[in-house]
């Protein structure tokens, strides 16, 4: 079988490469064919655990409108209005979480976005990323606005915040936000940043 050419990126545009799929299939043993057949299964994970750090970095730097703009048109319009009012139109999830006065509606939208991904069986977003967005939005509301945007009991909230803080791929600034939130709902007991 001919070797596949390596793809090249020219000016940001991907140059497609050749791959003789027929030759690849006919020279392969059963194990590789079985792996290919399993590809269509929805339950197969898309991403490896070691990719979570890169994915979270990407998520935090992604413009909010990219993900949150997939809500219904009315919500998308509201999102744009709020973002523009706060000069956050082109800003990222990280900028929102660490803004001194983030719009509470935006934090609620992110919480809902995260929950929707966790609840949807066909969501491709790793649960770890969705869970982190969920608890970080709650933490930001609690610390920046002294507002509760979740109806979770404190014990469950503590558990979730603690789990999120323990993720090795989380950046320090987000861990600190979560630690402060944990401290606040724990009645002054300090949340320790791992």
């Amino acid at each position: 079988m001919q070797d596949a050419k390596k793809p090249t990126v020219t000016g940001g545009r991907t140059v497609m490469s050749d791959f003789d799929s027929s030759a690849a299939v006919f020279k392969s043993r059963a194990k590789k064919l079985a792996t290919l057949m399993a590809t269509g299964e929805e339950r197969a994970k898309l991403w490896r655990p070691d990719e979570l750090a890169a994915m979270f970095r990407h998520q935090m730097s992604a413009p909010m409108l990219v993900d949150l703009g997939t809500f219904d048109p009315r919500t998308a319009t509201r999102l744009r209005t709020l973002s523009e009012a706060q000069g956050l139109l082109l800003k990222s999830f990280a900028d929102l979480f660490h803004h001194p006065a983030p719009p509470i509606e935006l934090l609620e939208l992110i919480k809902d976005f995260a929950k929707a991904n966790l609840d949807h069986p066909e969501s491709g977003l790793p649960d770890e990323i969705a869970t982190t967005l969920y608890y970080t939005s709650i933490a930001a509301a609690l610390i920046r606005l002294d507002a509760h945007i979740s109806q979770l009991p404190d014990a469950d909230l503590q558990c979730g915040l603690r789990w999120t803080m323990e993720q090795a791929w989380l950046d320090d600034k987000t861990k600190e936000l979560l630690a402060k939130a944990l401290e606040k709902i724990s009645g002054g007991q300090k949340g320790t940043v791992p």
Binding site: D3, A4, P7, V9, G12, R13, T14, M16, S17, F19, S21, S22, A24, V25, F26, S28, R29, A30, K31, K32, L33, A34, T35, L36, M37, A38, T39, G40, E42, A44, L46, W47, R48, E51, A54, M55, F56, H58, Q59, A62, P63, V66, D67, T70, N117, E122, S123, G124, L125, P126, I129
Partner: protein
């Protein structure tokens, strides 16, 4: 006789009504059926009877004429007796064995030592055929998926990116033992806007693959339930075979 797949299906749908009428109908329709099944049957014949490799096309031709056209063989294809592909290979094996018996009558008997091989065992026969069949299904699936994704009439360049991501993320690592590109490489190469964007692209690829796999199999298995059963059967077979090394 040409050994090319039909335009819309490499395996004809197992239409029992059609098969039942096939022996009474014109040769053109039978020709389509025969050509569609030609390649896997040839692989099966050559794997089962290696010493007859040079006669494979001729034997298949004889099989087609004697069994499929002249003897009303298709009328005996009965769904209740199992999958149509199993019926095909059993009939071909029996035909070739009968041919060998007729040849033996004309020539002095050949000892097993002279044959330099053991007679084929039933399990191996079945596996060679099923493996060839599975390969043909998967190759056709990927061929259609690539053509679909690169179709200029579809949403481009996104649709082509779907194929490319599928290729470098899944196909190359599986078939060429290539390292999976890192997440950062993917977002740079495809301009992915967020992890959701990346995930949706890969999910789309898997769904397109699955849709084409189902379509290829449905073209010979027939109904949706039979298609699902056949997909599972092929997967179970490949897993079982791979565990044996």
């Amino acid at each position: 006789m040409a050994s090319e797949p039909s335009k819309s299906s490499i395996f004809p749908r197992t239409d029992w009504a059609e098969l039942g009428k096939a022996a009474d109908t014109d040769v053109v329709r039978l020709d389509r059926l025969i050509r569609l099944y030609w390649q896997p049957l040839k692989i099966f014949l050559m794997a089962t009877f290696p010493s007859l490799k040079n006669q494979a096309d001729t034997l298949l031709q004889d099989f087609a004429e004697d069994k499929l056209i002249k003897e009303g063989w298709l009328r005996r294809a009965d769904q209740s007796r199992g999958r149509f592909r199993d019926f095909l290979k059993t009939s071909l094996r029996n035909f070739v064995l009968d041919h060998l018996n007729r040849v033996e009558v004309k020539n002095p008997p050949i000892s097993l030592e002279d044959l330099e091989q053991d007679p084929p065992q039933p399990d191996n026969l079945s596996e060679e055929f099923d493996l060839a069949w599975a390969r043909t299904v998967l190759a056709e699936t990927l061929r259609r998926m690539e053509a679909d994704c690169k179709n200029p009439a579809e949403d481009q360049p996104r649709r082509s990116y779907i194929w490319e991501m599928f290729r470098i993320r899944l196909l190359e690592p599986v078939f060429n033992d290539a390292a999976q590109p890192s997440y950062d490489q993917l977002i740079e190469q495809f301009g992915l806007k967020s992890p959701t964007d990346a995930s949706n692209t890969l999910l789309s690829a898997k769904r397109i693959f699955k849709a084409h796999l189902s379509k290829v199999i449905k073209e010979y298995a027939g109904q949706d339930a039979a298609t699902a059963t056949e997909i599972q059967a092929l997967e179970d077979f490949l897993v079982r075979l791979s565990k044996r090394g």
